[in-house]
């Protein structure tokens, strides 16, 4: 299932909120670019990644147990959105 634009925007807002960032807006974050690299508006580290994992868990009720796999999920807004969309579809039995 292709994640919606709304979901991606929601995720960007959640990232900004959970990392308490004031100088980056959702539109500044490139969906496909790595969140860990400076090519994106954010350059997150492992602590930030954990903050995002916890925020996703609280908002969407998903569980990202393994940080090794988590790194692939948290890689970009696109990968997070794909994961959330997949989890939501699985919950609804789609």
């Amino acid at each position: 299932m292709e994640p919606s634009k709304e979901l991606k925007r929601e995720i960007k807002e959640l990232i900004i909120e959970s990392l308490k960032i004031t100088d980056v807006k959702p539109d500044d974050i490139i969906d496909s670019a790595s969140l860990f690299e400076e090519t994106n508006a954010l350059q997150i580290d492992s602590v930030d990644a954990l903050e995002i994992v916890m925020a996703l868990q609280r908002k969407y009720g998903v569980h990202i147990d393994d940080q090794n796999l988590g790194r692939f999920i948290i890689k970009s807004v696109d990968t997070i959105a794909e994961f959330i969309a997949k989890e939501q579809a699985a919950k609804q039995g789609l």
């Binding site: 580290d45 492992s46 954990l50 868990q57 393994d66 090794n68």
Partner: protein, 340 residues
């Protein structure tokens, strides 16, 4: 991501896994025809544990959240009837000859390595760790095809790097350790191994009369944390050590929350196989305990990163750890009652 890639020659199916030792044992067992998951291997091997270690031989106190390295292989041998052939060739030349001879017979081999020497890991992610396990699945000219459960696909490793990695010096030096599955049962009734695995793990957590092991070790950790400011060189050092709490729990191949999530998954699988609603409930409880260990990870990472490390912050962290000790003591006593 978990679907995996196949080596054409050996038909070894590469899959990512949470932890290198459980992942490599699981990979070898799957290749040998056993249908078993990584959490099941972990649970049957009584993998869940806690120890707080402080010694003049260690540069700084540390904690571990699983049983001894090597235990996963030994316990699966004992409880599942798997026969492994383990060896420690004396020097790099003999080690390569031995490994190459097995690969020539299409036998995948687990080898202990220094992670730093893995050619496929990007330079900025390289770090020395001698306790890493990979599976060598083939060799063409001077290049090995390896399955590293932390890497998404099969990878290539040069013979020079492999030799350096297998004979790296320092803590946990591999000394050329390699092993492979010689014989594995195709059909195993997992019910008894599951019960034995749970019983031993629960006893290790709540019955050992040693102050730094199991739940007692968690309590010791909570108390000793308050003394860390006296052990460090400066604020930078304290910040590093406090952030290491998060790294040990979340980033070192634990499956998250210091193996607690992996154990919860094991209990869920065990509940199904044993048709035991009590174990299913324990799985949910363990998932909650894991979530609360993850809150500790996050708190430690936050205060470490901000260098907000005054006594009040450490006291908060200590109280969170102490609460996990209380919770795990109750949990493992209850688990012991369920498995009798």
């Amino acid at each position: 991501m978990k679907k995996g890639t196949m080596d054409n020659k050996t038909r070894y199916l590469h899959k990512m896994a949470a932890h290198c030792e459980t992942g490599s044992v699981t990979g070898l067992l799957n290749h040998a025809g056993m249908n078993i998951t990584e959490p099941m291997v972990f649970g049957i091997s009584s993998g869940i544990f806690f120890a707080y270690l402080q010694s003049s031989k260690l540069p700084f106190p540390m904690f571990v959240t699983r049983n001894m390295p090597g235990s996963i292989r030994k316990k699966t041998a004992k409880r599942l009837g798997v026969v492994y052939k383990k060896s420690k060739p004396r020097d790099p030349r003999k080690a390569s000859e031995s490994l190459d001879a097995l690969l020539a017979q299409n036998i995948p081999v687990a080898v202990q390595v220094d992670m730093f020497e893995m050619d496929y890991i990007p330079p900025h992610m390289k770090a020395h760790f001698n306790g890493h396990f990979i599976i060598a699945v083939g060799k063409e000219k001077d290049s090995y095809t390896v399955s590293d459960c932390y890497f998404p696909t099969l990878a290539q490793l040069s013979q020079t790097s492999m030799e350096r990695a297998r004979f790296a010096r320092g803590d946990m030096a591999p000394h050329g350790l390699q092993y492979y599955v010689k014989q594995a049962p195709q059909q195993v009734d997992l019910r008894t191994p599951i019960r034995k695995g749970i019983k031993e793990a629960a006893r290790n957590m709540v019955k050992l009369p040693i102050p730094f092991l199991g739940v007692k070790g968690i309590r010791l950790f909570a108390r000793k944390l308050m003394e860390w400011p006296k052990l460090v060189r400066d604020e930078e050092h304290l910040s590093h050590e406090v952030m290491m709490i998060s790294a040990i729990l979340e980033e070192r191949g634990t499956g998250g929350a210091g193996f607690r999530f992996m154990y919860a998954t094991f209990l869920q699988e065990a509940a199904k196989l044993l048709n035991d609603a009590g174990l299913a409930d324990m799985s949910k409880q363990m998932m909650g305990i894991g979530d609360r260990w993850r809150e500790i990870s996050l708190h430690a990472a936050r205060i470490g990163k901000k260098k907000d490390l005054g006594p009040d912050r450490l006291k908060e962290l200590s109280a969170m750890i102490m609460a996990r000790a209380d919770e795990e003591e109750k949990f493992f006593n209850q688990l012991l009652k369920i498995v009798g």
